[in-house]
């Protein structure tokens, strides 16, 4: 009996505890990201933002969640019921499972797999299915148009994201996320790879369907795009999934370019702050840019979006791969050579 407990049950339970320890903070940050978004954009547009529920409006996300939870779930009669119900769950689950490989500190990671960055890339490329399924299953014109736009958009920007990840991998020599962070001990990759970092960040905006690339739910032309038929918890799951994806993409940017859990300088006042907190600060900084962009820029037109993806970012990131590889070989800087 004790053997069964030691070999099978305890590792299972321990993993479950670790998963909860990751998912709970993520969900809490998702809730407060919605609050932060309204406060930040409010401040930028000289409004107050939520300030009624609780002190400084701090309980607003809870109130919103409760409201959505208590609403009636409506399934359109023409909808494909099963796919309609699966779509929001898929979006939400995919936004959470990716956190399994994010390293929060040296050795502080749920699954330290060799191909961590590929796993992240794979999971983020699956996000399109939730939207595509929702758009198709709703059996509605607007939802379908939103889904189709989303599919084309996410596939296009993934290509340049892949090439930018390759430039980072060339500098690291490993696909393991912890190795990627440790390779930035001397200098964060944002300094040598600055143009790539900028293109990567803009691509993540497109990948998460955020402003100014929020074509799939452009409310001015498509009402609300793919989620127009969803109500109550279905809608809430899409909403949470989108914000969880934003946090995930910020984490990815922090790990690839901003040195993950590493402090900016390896000296005393900076090293006193623990690693996970550094990562959180960097993620918060990226998220602030997400919100800042939303408050500042108008929405792209769809053909402009496609032009930017295929005719500007793709050649630039491809050139980036060639230049970075060339420089590494010419100056004999290739990691793990031989």
């Amino acid at each position: 009996m004790a053997e069964v407990w030691d070999i099978y049950l305890w590792p299972l339970l321990w993993t479950a505890i670790k998963i909860v320890a990751i998912v709970l903070p993520v969900l809490l940050s998702v809730a407060y990201l919605t609050y932060a978004e309204r406060k930040v954009i409010g401040a930028m547009q000289m409004r107050r933002g939520p300030n009624i529920v609780g002190p400084f409006g701090l309980l607003q996300p809870m109130a919103d969640g409760l409201k959505l939870f208590l609403k009636e779930t409506i399934i359109p009669s023409g909808a494909n019921r099963v796919v309609f119900m699966i779509a929001p769950m898929l979006t939400f689950i995919l936004a959470l499972v990716a956190w399994a490989v994010i390293p929060f500190d040296q050795g502080m990671v749920l699954a330290d797999i060799n191909v961590g960055i590929l796993y992240l890339f794979a999971i983020s490329s699956l996000g399109v299915y939730g939207i595509l399924m929702a758009g198709w299953a709703s059996n509605s014109r607007y939802a379908f148009l939103g889904a189709i736009r989303s599919a084309a958009q996410m596939v296009s920007y993934e290509v340049s994201m892949g090439f930018i990840i390759i430039t980072v991998l060339l500098c690291v020599g490993s696909l393991n996320l912890s190795d990627i962070v440790l390779a930035q001990k001397g200098m964060w990759f944002i300094i040598p790879l600055f143009p790539m970092a900028v293109i990567f960040f803009i691509s993540t905006l497109a990948e998460t369907n955020r402003h100014p690339f929020d074509m799939p739910e452009a409310e001015a032309e498509l009402v609300a795009g793919y989620n127009v038929e969803y109500s109550a918890m279905g809608f809430a799951l899409f909403f949470l999934g989108e914000y969880a994806n934003m946090i995930l993409m910020s984490a990815m940017t922090s790990i690839l370019f901003l040195g993950g859990w590493l402090p900016p300088f390896d000296m005393v006042p900076f090293t006193l702050i623990p690693g996970p907190l550094w990562l959180a600060i960097k993620i918060a900084f990226c998220l602030f840019i997400f919100l800042w962009v939303r408050a500042t820029f108008p929405r792209y037109r769809y053909d402009q979006l496609m032009r930017l993806g295929w005719k500007v970012f793709l050649p630039l990131s491809l050139a980036g791969v060639v230049v970075v590889a060339g420089v590494l070989v010419a100056f004999d800087l290739v990691p793990n050579a031989g």
């Binding site: 494909n80 796919v83 890339f121 794979a122 490329s125 599919a151 993934e158 696909l175």
Partner: protein, 203 residues
């Protein structure tokens, strides 16, 4: 034991969703089951220790190819009941092809079992998986040992791509296109004219 359980789960779901791909009535459901099959095959790859292949399977097939499938299947308005009517007619040919593939697979696996020399020759081409990660092993194989073949395959793909574009691209007349360079080259002097209008006269 856990590995065996995981294997049977992945294998069972792969086979079941494979059957559902060809038997589902709704083509969109077929594509969704195809995605499920891809996903579970990726799980099988992970169990084999081929994590790089597993991730690439998800990135390429699930993340890109199946999205395009889905895109096309959702937009096309095909009468799928009509398409199914030839099913019995094509069954013999399909069955024969399936049988040939089965026999060939049996010959390959049987060859490995009967002649250890054959399987040794197959394994020798790859570096020992226990010593290098399989990303490195694949990289050495593709980009070092077989670089010319790899480049040749790339050229074939490029030619195929150019061919597909040439064959399907047609010049349409009367299409308005945004030319960014023209827009940026415009100056206020050539596009705006200020006119002093006298009262009561108009232009």
């Amino acid at each position: 034991m856990i590995e065996a359980l995981a294997f049977y789960m992945f294998a069972a779901v792969t086979v079941a969703s494979g059957v559902l791909v060809i038997s589902a009535r709704n083509p969109v459901h077929s594509v969704l089951f195809l995605i499920l099959a891809f996903f579970n095959s990726a799980g099988l790859f992970v169990l084999l220790g081929a994590e790089f292949l597993a991730m690439i399977l998800v990135v390429v097939y699930v993340g890109a190819v199946a999205v395009l499938f889905m895109f096309v299947v959702m937009m096309l308005d095909i009468n799928f009941v009509e398409m199914r009517q030839g099913f019995l007619q094509y069954l013999p040919i399909g069955g024969v092809i399936g049988l040939i593939l089965l026999v060939e697979l049996a010959v390959v696996v049987g060859g490995w079992q009967l002649g250890p020399a054959i399987s040794a020759a197959g394994v020798a081409a790859t570096p020992d998986v226990a010593q290098v990660t399989n990303t490195q092993a694949l990289g050495q194989l593709l980009y070092t040992h077989y670089i010319y073949l790899f480049q040749a395959a790339g050229m074939v793909l490029l030619v195929a791509m150019v061919g597909a574009i040439v064959l399907t691209h047609r010049k349409r007349t009367g299409v308005k296109k945004q030319v960014i360079a023209d827009q940026l080259a415009r100056r206020a002097e050539e596009s705006v004219k200020l006119v002093k209008v006298d009262t009561g006269k108009g232009i």
